[in-house]
Symmetry: C2
Subunit: 258 residues, 2 copies
């Protein structure tokens, strides 16, 4: 059965190597029909006050070595909010998201730093569109910034020099690219140091966004649902990382039954 | 710069096509050194009572068309808990995780149903190891079960016949495989129906785990960190989905500097 599916998929994706960008699909909705899928506001009751990005980064970095990627980003933002704001933040369970480390329990999917960042953004912004815009901008930041650039005040594990462009929010590719560039194994102090600094970078970037939002100055840097509009499927821009030379054309999706 | 990294990565991963399984790496830790990374308990204050999986599935299914994958799984479990347990569940912001839809704002990484399921598991279990064991088991369930098998009491969008094996928790591959098998576009009622039923399946499976756990009968079905032990990097078992014939051998990681 699985073999049949594999063959079906292979013929499906092997049709064309055409460029991917710029193919517009006339829709901006995801869930179903347009009336289903509109954005809406909610009230989570988690208040925000502007935070010091440097402090957020340092807390995140220090927390990584026990709490790992997702929960260390949450700790970096939630711990100062407990002091500055209190309220519901006081008993928010920072460790409840630790399972997200390593792209979910080590499965290497979505980097846990982004799951942690998205969690706090969602708790704070109270608007599905704003939360999604920040999530989208964070994916762009993560994918197209040489990381980690964060310099801790006091190094916990080891000095670090290498920075890499992930090209994707996918943990496996992101950490694999860094491991190759740095010649370091996953079970090394250097790799742990890298992910700790990366978590600090993501927490700092998230804090910049939230601070701007608090001032009424946050504007999304990137178009929402670019991936769905350009490719007709949930996707990224690093198609050749997995499809190699056989990148499917977005045109193929137009042949599918609407 | 990006090109250099690409070339480095290509030579890194192109070395061998050897089988992947069974290569043991003598470590069971992730974050850094062993003393850093041990599991621990916490108290989130979110109480659990056993739920009716059928009701959870139906709520999840109905919620999908407005809340999408992550938040609909959360709604399926949290809404009955608000009635049965109350307490902190009453004002838990179900919509705070909607950004996770489509593998994070449509980037196609980790399926949002699993981010939603992991969130409630983390809130409830109060133990990093148990939450991670359930997250791991959910990834296995999602990857190696023909889905969606859920049959709604009343169909909202359209009848559905096709089920597919994702082989991965990655949204882009999972939904792409289903779209190819069903000959349906992403922006179709059938695809929305598929993801709604898939969300119900994941919510039901999560409820089964949590009910067993409440009875003291939950035992993980799969080894934790199998991916790290076998491959020396955060990873899955569907290596050829992305690496094609050039699947790197786990041996290569042993040549990296520890």
């Amino acid at each position: 059965m699985e073999k049949d599916i594999d063959e079906s998929r292979r013929s499906f994706i092997a049709t064309s190597g055409k460029a991917l960008a710029g193919v517009a699909i006339a829709s901006s909705i995801i869930g179903g029909t347009a009336e289903d899928a509109s954005a809406y506001s909610y009230n989570g009751g988690y208040k925000y006050q502007k935070l010091d990005p440097g402090e957020v980064g340092e807390i995140t970095y220090k927390n990584y070595f026990k709490r790992w990627c997702a929960s260390s980003v949450i700790a970096g933002i939630v711990e100062p909010l407990r002091r500055q704001v209190g309220g519901k933040w006081k008993d928010f369970p920072i460790d409840a998201m630790r399972w997200a480390h390593g792209g979910m329990a080590g499965w290497g999917c979505l980097c846990g730093t982004l799951i942690g960042a998205g969690t706090v953004v969602g708790l704070i912004t109270n608007d599905t569109d704003i939360a999604e815009e920040m999530a989208n901008d964070l994916c762009f930041y993560y994918s197209y910034t040489e990381l980690p650039s964060y310099q801790p005040r006091k190094i916990i594990k080891t000095k670090l020099e290498d920075m890499t462009l992930a090209g994707t929010p996918v943990c496996h590719i992101s950490v694999g690219r860094w491991m190759a560039a740095a010649d370091k194994a996953f079970f090394s102090d250097a790799r742990a140091e890298r992910c700790a600094r990366l978590a600090a970078n993501v927490a700092i970037e998230t804090t910049h966004m939230l601070n701007k939002w608090k001032d009424g100055r946050y504007k999304p840097a990137h178009e929402l649902q670019f991936n769905l509009k350009a490719h007709g499927i949930t996707s990224q821009n690093n198609c050749m990382d997995c499809h190699g030379q056989n990148v499917p054309s977005a045109e193929i999706y137009k042949t599918l039954d609407k």
